[in-house]
């Protein structure tokens, strides 16, 4: 078993939590359902959604810029870490992820083993 990180990019739900809380709630429930199924298999290790704001800090001088820093489609909107037998297995686990129905992208990256 190895760890894999799912990075979610894009995939705007098209509902605003402020003006349509019920619609947004329904959308979040689709995420919950997907993750619950992962959790049931015991292979879901955690993760969080991320705000679209933040700071980008560069260089020794720690030069700061406000986010968002890239085009909406490319912003990392959240991450999840899972346990999978192989990259194919991990790809299969992303099936049913709600982001696919909203034109979003899941980037699946194996966690690197670092040996000294």
């Amino acid at each position: 078993m190895s760890k894999y990180m799912f990075l979610f990019r894009g995939g705007e739900p098209g509902v605003d939590p402020m003006s349509d809380p019920a619609g947004f709630g329904a959308y979040m429930m689709t995420w919950k359902t997907w993750m619950e199924n992962l959790a049931k298999s015991g292979k879901y290790l955690g993760g969080d959604p991320l705000e679209a704001t933040g700071r980008t800090v560069t260089g020794k001088a720690m030069k700061m810029t406000d986010g968002p820093f890239v085009e909406g489609k490319e912003i990392v909107g959240g991450y999840v870490i899972v346990e999978a037998a192989s990259i194919e297995d991990a790809v299969k686990m992303s099936e049913g992820c709600p982001i696919y129905t909203h034109d979003g992208v899941v980037e699946i990256r194996p966690v690197q083993h670092v040996d000294f």
Partner: protein
């Protein structure tokens, strides 16, 4: 609410669940006097409890060991709020209470602790209230709850037993509900003989059990019928001053016909099952009393037969005692007294001595009757029962010697 939260966190975090509920109630006490009681108080409490739970989990969930299948969901912002919300969804709350009832009545928890735990977590009773209900001090209830919680924690999760185990696991659950009802119907210690709050809780739990497909079994219906038959008469049992009115003297028009009808309905359904439980028989006996036009016209012969069947299932002194009283009614005081004297093991019960006193009085053995009533009076702890015995002693003094 404690049930919903415990299912979420796991049984080892009963205190965390209780903290959330405590905080919620405190907030209500702070808010409501200033802003008024909200339109939907229950919904308000749930919303606040939900937010409290989310807050607590955000702050504390890293360090604590949560229920395995929920841990990842509760630690992730993706799913935290949704998982907690779902646990609070209305239709799940009844299920949670039942699961909690099964957990509180788990065989690994001794019976007296089961009831204390159920009263605390399911019925929201305070420690002093439980102490009163049990005729004991707060310290011993705290000890009992502490031990119960230890055992509870070891369970890990709050869940329904597998369907095959339901009949067996139901036994302590029903015993607890009935104990709760009895404590309300015949309060051993309390100034008031009848504690409506306990009766209501017992009926509520019984109703919940009857409605759930997993637990809607014939013995459950029989128990609910039994409790409803008794509850139908509770108004007529006390006069305006809270003194006892005996079954023979009760105004039968005060009995709640609607509850009797409901009880009868459940009893009819209960007898369709293959099994005959003690609750079936006790409900049938209570039903005969409820349907009798007067005390004298009660079908005592059938009652004796029912007690015989009950004795075959539970051969104990209390059943023999009640059977002896029925014999006295059916066959006269002399037979009744003989049956009473044959009962062993009830010398410390005030009810036993009161019944002997009644029989002796009917046989005009007044001195012996006086002594029996006096013994009963010494033994009772209930103010109301004591008053009744004093009244009987007075009546005795006014009876002319023959």
């Amino acid at each position: 609410m404690v049930g919903a939260l415990t299912r979420l966190f796991g049984t080892q975090h009963l205190e965390l669940a209780e903290d959330v509920v405590q905080e919620t109630l405190l907030k209500a006490m702070r808010d409501w006097p200033y802003h008024g009681v909200p339109d939907q108080p229950a919904a308000w409490l749930h919303r606040v409890a939900k937010n409290q739970a989310i807050d607590q989990l955000r702050r504390k969930s890293r360090g604590v060991e949560l229920l395995k299948e929920n841990a990842a969901l509760l630690r992730s912002e993706w799913t935290l709020s949704g998982t907690v919300s779902e646990a609070f969804a209305e239709d799940l709350i009844a299920d949670d209470q039942l699961r909690m009832l099964f957990a509180c009545c788990h065989p690994s928890i001794p019976q007296e602790q089961q009831l204390a735990l159920a009263l605390r977590t399911l019925c929201g009773f305070s420690v002093p209230e439980i102490a009163r209900a049990f005729v004991t001090n707060e310290e011993s209830i705290n000890k009992r709850l502490y031990r119960a919680r230890e055992a509870f924690r070891a369970l890990g999760r709050v869940e329904f037993p597998p369907a095959a185990e339901v009949p067996l696991r139901l036994k302590p659950v029903l015993a607890t509900v009935y104990l709760l009802f009895n404590e309300g119907y015949n309060s051993t210690e309390h100034q008031d003989l009848i504690r409506e709050d306990l009766i209501e809780e017992a009926l509520r739990l019984g109703d919940m059990l009857v409605r759930h497909p997993l637990t809607a079994r014939s013995e459950v219906k029989a128990l609910l019928a039994l409790m409803l038959f008794h509850a139908a008469r509770s108004e007529a049992r006390l006069d305006a001053d809270g003194a006892i009115i005996l079954l023979a003297d009760q105004d039968r028009s005060c009995w709640d016909r609607q509850l009797i009808g409901l009880a009868e309905g459940y009893l009819q359904e209960a007898v369709k099952g293959e099994e005959v439980s003690t609750y079936h028989i006790e409900a049938a006996i209570a039903g005969i009393h409820c349907h009798a036009p007067s005390f004298e016209e009660t079908d005592w012969i059938t009652i004796i037969l029912l007690y015989d069947r009950l004795l075959a299932l539970v051969p104990n002194a209390i059943v023999r005692f009640n059977r002896a009283i029925a014999i006295g009614r059916a066959h006269g005081a002399a037979e009744g007294l003989k049956a009473l004297d044959a009962v062993e093991g009830l010398n410390t019960s005030h009810l036993y001595h009161a019944a002997r006193g009644d029989a002796l009085r009917e046989l005009t053995r007044l001195e012996e009757a006086r002594s029996a009533y006096s013994t009963g009076l010494r033994l009772t702890k209930s103010a109301v029962e004591g008053a009744l015995l004093r009244r009987k002693l007075e009546e005795l003094s006014n009876t002319p010697q023959r």
